[in-house]
Amino acid sequence: MEVSRHWRLKHQRYALQGEICPHCEKKIFPPRDLCPHCGEDARTTYNFGGRGKVYSYTKVVQAPAGFEEQAPYTVALVRLDEGPMITAQLTDIQDEDVEIGMPVEMVTRRLASDGDRGVLLYGYKFRPLMPAVS
């Protein structure tokens, strides 16, 4: 069990909280304090909107320990609308629906179970973008 490790990441896991570089204005996720684009200090908090497009995806059948009960599951690289790319699972999908370029949005779901005590970890996954309600 790694309680503090997961607690520490709550703003990222639940709210996609990253940073914006005050120097070059690039958006950064995950937060890394030094801007990977210009190398300057970047500690200004920025909350991402949670929408993006699928850059690539695959289906995992042989799951690692902690993920067996979810298998098979689809994991993707998602390019967020604000620029950065992140790794996350896709959810609420049928296999045949997924394609490169598909618009997706963030939802909060169970990521894994942590250890014998069965602590549940929650965080971001992405589902197909729901049509706007008019």
Binding site: S56, K59, V61, Q62, A63, P64, I86
Partner: protein, 394 residues
């Protein structure tokens, strides 16, 4: 400011090499396997006492509950008192451990050095091994989403096929060629060619990556004894092989943090630095032991090195350029795909095989013209890349 690489001293020589077959060695431990490789490597130069032992390993702390592995192996190999350390950079551990020996010799602090890579996967069930392997990625932002090594490679492969309008079996040539070459290596895990059409029907591991696109990971050990030749009597009857260049580079650990995930930037940097250090051009390289842990890695490594333009590495397998009789042979003794991938030891297997080719001792797998060989191993999806160039001394 980028500093040019300084040339290596021209007398960093390979004295001996050794390896075990890669396989499921249920009856053997980390120390047994390492000892066998070390004894084989030392046999060619029995009078040489190494001054330092570098041990390459990736997963002993996770899978065997063993740290201080280098000390354990030094002790078990009757090298008591020797300086020893473990080098870990996932799949690049072997190359990076060898590089530590090269640096120690180049510095003049050491006259002789021993490198051994050892890995033991078969202690645990598959889900534990997958979880341990996933620690090579970003724990907080990749592994926690269930991303395995295989899934990471599959994400790259999916996008690669899409961007380059390549057919579903575009990468089939890589495992086919590896198995063809492995058929000539008596130590290879798979010594049989893949029958025509089998790739296209293979079971998927992570779509679109099938079982032939992934190297089997199993137990094994490989070792190399090095020395400054001015420090040891020149009593070897074998053709002499020297280290011409050694370079290493890193990229963002997480694939999602790279500007272009389909560019193996660390591999490109390590290769260009090695070539610059050696004063060689890519054309001078007779063969390339690249890291084919996944077939997509082979394509991206060829592109990073400059053997193919961006997006066209797969064509070198399709047109046969990377076959044993092609313009730039790869994985000449089967690579990770057919020889078997021994994790942190993989980079040392590559270097041992490079030495055997240069010495003319590769048996049935021997290339006709092997003067200069390049070996490159990768940690994760090229988060770490280590490139060495070895040369047969005339």
């Amino acid at each position: 400011m980028k500093m040019p690489m300084k040339p290596l001293p021209n007398d960093i020589m390979i004295l001996g090499v050794g390896m075990t077959p890669v396989g499921e060695h249920w009856d053997r431990s980390l120390r047994d396997l390492a000892l066998e490789a070390i004894q084989n490597a030392r046999r060619a130069a029995p009078g040489i006492q190494p001054q330092v032992l570098y041990t390459a390993n990736m997963l002993a702390p996770c899978l065997s509950q063993q740290t201080q592995l280098a000390t354990l192996i030094a002790d078990f190999a009757a090298l008591q008192g020797i300086e020893a350390m473990t080098v870990e950079a996932a799949g690049a551990s072997g190359g990076l451990a060898f590089r530590q020996a090269v640096l120690a010799l180049a510095s003049g602090q050491m006259d002789t050095a021993l490198v051994v890579g050892v890995e033991k996967f078969s202690e645990r069930v598959t889900s534990d091994v997958e979880a341990a392997l996933a620690t090579a990625g970003d724990g907080d932002y990749e592994a926690i989403h269930g991303l395995t090594n295989t899934a990471q490679a599959a994400l790259l492969m999916q996008r690669y096929l899409h961007d380059n309008h390549a057919p579903a079996d575009a990468l089939a040539g890589f495992p086919l060629i590896a198995h063809e070459n492995g058929a000539h290596n008596p130590l290879a895990m798979f010594q049989r060619a893949i029958p025509e059409g089998r790739y296209q029907k293979a079971a998927m591991l992570c779509t679109p990556l099938n079982m032939f696109d992934a190297a089997p990971q199993a137990d094994g050990a490989a070792a190399i004894l090095l020395a400054r030749s001015d420090a040891v009597a020149d009593e070897m009857n074998l053709p002499r092989v020297r280290v011409r260049a050694s370079a290493a580079s890193t990229d963002a650990l997480a694939v999602h943090d790279r500007p272009d995930p389909l560019s193996f930037t660390a591999a490109a940097t390590a290769t260009s630095q090695a070539l610059q250090q050696a004063g060689l051009k890519l054309d001078d390289v007779d063969f390339f032991e690249l890291h084919d842990r996944f077939s997509i890695f082979a394509a991206l490594s060829l592109e990073a090195a400059g053997f193919a333009p961006h997006g066209e590495g797969w064509k070198l397998a399709q047109n046969g350029a990377v076959k044993a009789d092609g313009s730039i042979p790869i994985c000449t003794m089967g690579g990770s795909k057919a020889r078997g991938d021994a994790g942190g030891a993989a980079g040392l297997y590559q270097l041992v095989e490079t030495v055997l080719q240069l010495q003319g001792l590769a048996g049935e797998a021997q290339l006709p013209h092997a003067q200069i060989g390049m070996a490159q191993c990768l940690g994760g999806a090229a988060s770490t890349a280590v490139t060495h160039i070895l040369e047969r001394v005339k």
